[in-house]
């Protein structure tokens, strides 16, 4: 990092100061971690047999957690496919030449982006059954995730389509292509390529958001951990609580870090390829990664 313009390369004195600071800071962090571990040990949380239950097939815990993870991935996968397809359609609709397509699609996108995801899921879960749509927690979760993310993805696709050089479109029209052909053969392939990193990042967000199933009672990873805890509390007291929660949290982090790595390598690959050389200047908007969507006005 000696290339940073913000500071000079540290000299001997600064290096010594940094070393002292590092050692002291390291000691403080180590002390805090030690304190936490000591409290955990004092509460008996570090005993090996408490952790062994996580890996002991006889207890049913690994199977249940695996099942929970599969349920999480199932919701996320269905949601990802639906949201991507619908998002692409909505993006094309929003760029349509016909006002009667453009305006309603715009309203749909803005509406679903502006509402908190949890409210959308609750709407699907609570309201739709009253108008005769059969609903399960799984369907409500998928539907909520799809509705929300298709709107976010539509904006991403739209930004991608608009970022394709104007000459491409004009050249395609000059060759005599129709509007549909221009869109499907020329603009969309380039747009998808360019927006691929953002797209994958948003899909990671979708996976993260599937943990909202915990609140609406879908048996995903977090809910599995919770019900295992309740089950064990009933039979053995609360001795496995902490271990199960840590396990669920770690699984989430591992899966998400893995997916983020995929996103990063995809980004690198698109950046390397000569055809998408311009992809480098597409910045990942912070809000897209945050899973809250952006400004509800579409100006983001």
């Amino acid at each position: 990092m000696s290339t940073s313009v913000l500071f000079d390369v540290p000299g001997p004195r600064a290096r010594r100061r940094q070393l002292v600071g590092t050692v002291v800071g390291g000691l403080v962090v180590a002390a805090l971690v030690g304190l936490a571990l000591w409290r955990l040990a004092a509460n008996g949380q570090l005993e090996p047999d408490r952790w062994a239950v996580l890996f002991d097939p006889a207890s049913g815990v690994p199977q249940a957690l695996w099942e929970g993870l599969l349920n999480t991935l199932a919701v996320a996968a269905v949601g990802m496919v639906l949201a991507t397809v619908l998002g692409a359609l909505l993006a094309v609709g929003r760029l349509s030449d016909h006002a009667w397509v453009r305006i309603p699609v715009g309203v749909v996108i803005e509406l679903f982006r502006a509402v908190p995801l949890l409210i959308l899921i609750l709407f699907c879960l609570l309201f739709l059954p009253t108008v005769g749509v059969p609903m399960t927690a799984f369907r409500a979760l998928v539907l909520g995730l799809t509705l929300y993310n298709m709107a976010v993805l539509a904006e991403i696709f739209r930004a991608g389509i608009l970022s394709v050089d104007r000459g491409q479109r004009e050249a395609a029209f000059a060759l005599g292509m129709r509007k549909t052909q221009v869109m499907t053969l020329v603009l969309l392939p380039q747009a998808v390529r360019r927006m691929l990193p953002v797209l994958v990042a948003q899909l990671v967000v979708l996976l993260k958001d599937s943990s909202l199933g915990f609140i609406v009672g879908y048996v995903e990873l977090l809910r599995t951990a919770r019900s295992l805890v309740e089950f064990f509390n009933f039979s053995f007291g609360s001795q496995y609580t902490f271990q199960l929660y840590v396990a669920a949290g770690l699984i989430y982090i591992v899966v998400n870090v893995a997916l983020s790595q995929v996103a990063r390598s995809v980004e690198k690959r698109t950046r390397r390829s000569a055809k998408a050389a311009a992809a480098a200047d597409v910045e990942l908007p912070a809000d897209v990664q945050m899973g809250g969507g952006g400004a509800p006005t579409g100006q983001a």
Binding site: P116, L118, K208, L222, A286, G292, G294
Partner: protein
């Protein structure tokens, strides 16, 4: 309408809870995120490492899991938040700070290198050049992404409902369970509550953005 006015007390206090949740955690996240961004560009490698680690962990953890840990996990190390509201504030701030840090870091990167070089040439230390030269410019360029983080935060407060904070979403669940025939009105009122926060914010962000934008 009759139904909504009957429950206006609950809705109003729920709205205030949501709003204060968003504002308090927004401020905490802004402070923490700025610190983290400063650490991420600092000359001290362990600080950089620590901040990177923080951001990576919190960006890859679902907010629900963060809530979950603060609500049920830290009891095991004999810590507890004095109230559910503070638990929610802590979870939202810790989570959002990672995104504030990322937004600010991209802002810091977008400040032309000449500015930092000039600051160094004048003999300013790292802290001085960051505080007086780089960050003020960075903040101006990141108004839109920071605004988006704020709006996302306002929407994310709804997750607190799952952890026994009586915000708008919790009010929605309560009213929906009690009044199955009035579902649409309940949903409309609650969504309107969120829009009252997000729409003016979006407008304000655009105004501020136009005000402070640096034309280069």
């Amino acid at each position: 309408m009759q139904f909504l006015s009957d429950n206006s007390d609950l809705l109003w206090s729920a709205f205030l809870t949501t709003l204060s949740l968003a504002v308090v955690s927004g401020l905490c996240a802004l402070v923490l995120g700025t610190l983290l961004a400063g650490m991420r560009v600092s000359p001290v490698p362990p600080l950089r490492g620590l901040a990177t680690f923080y951001v990576e962990v919190f960006r890859n953890t679902p907010l629900t899991v963060v809530f979950f840990f603060l609500a049920f996990g830290i009891v095991q190390i004999d810590l507890q938040f004095p109230s559910r509201f503070l638990t929610a504030v802590a979870a939202l701030s810790l989570y959002t700070a990672a995104f504030v840090c990322e937004a600010l870091r991209s802002g810091i990167n977008s400040v032309p290198p000449g500015q930092a070089e000039a600051a160094r040439a004048l003999g300013l230390t790292f802290g001085q050049s960051l505080r007086q030269v780089v960050l003020p410019q960075a903040f101006r360029t990141v108004v839109p992404p920071l605004g988006n983080v704020w709006i996302a935060l306002a929407k994310n407060t709804s997750i607190a409902a799952g952890f026994a904070v009586t915000d708008l979403t919790a009010a929605l669940q309560r009213l929906a369970n009690a009044n199955a025939d009035q579902l649409l009105a309940v949903f409309a009122a609650v969504v309107a509550g969120y829009l009252v926060i997000t729409l003016p914010s979006a407008w304000l962000i655009r105004v501020v953005e136009n005000r402070v934008a640096i034309v280069r």
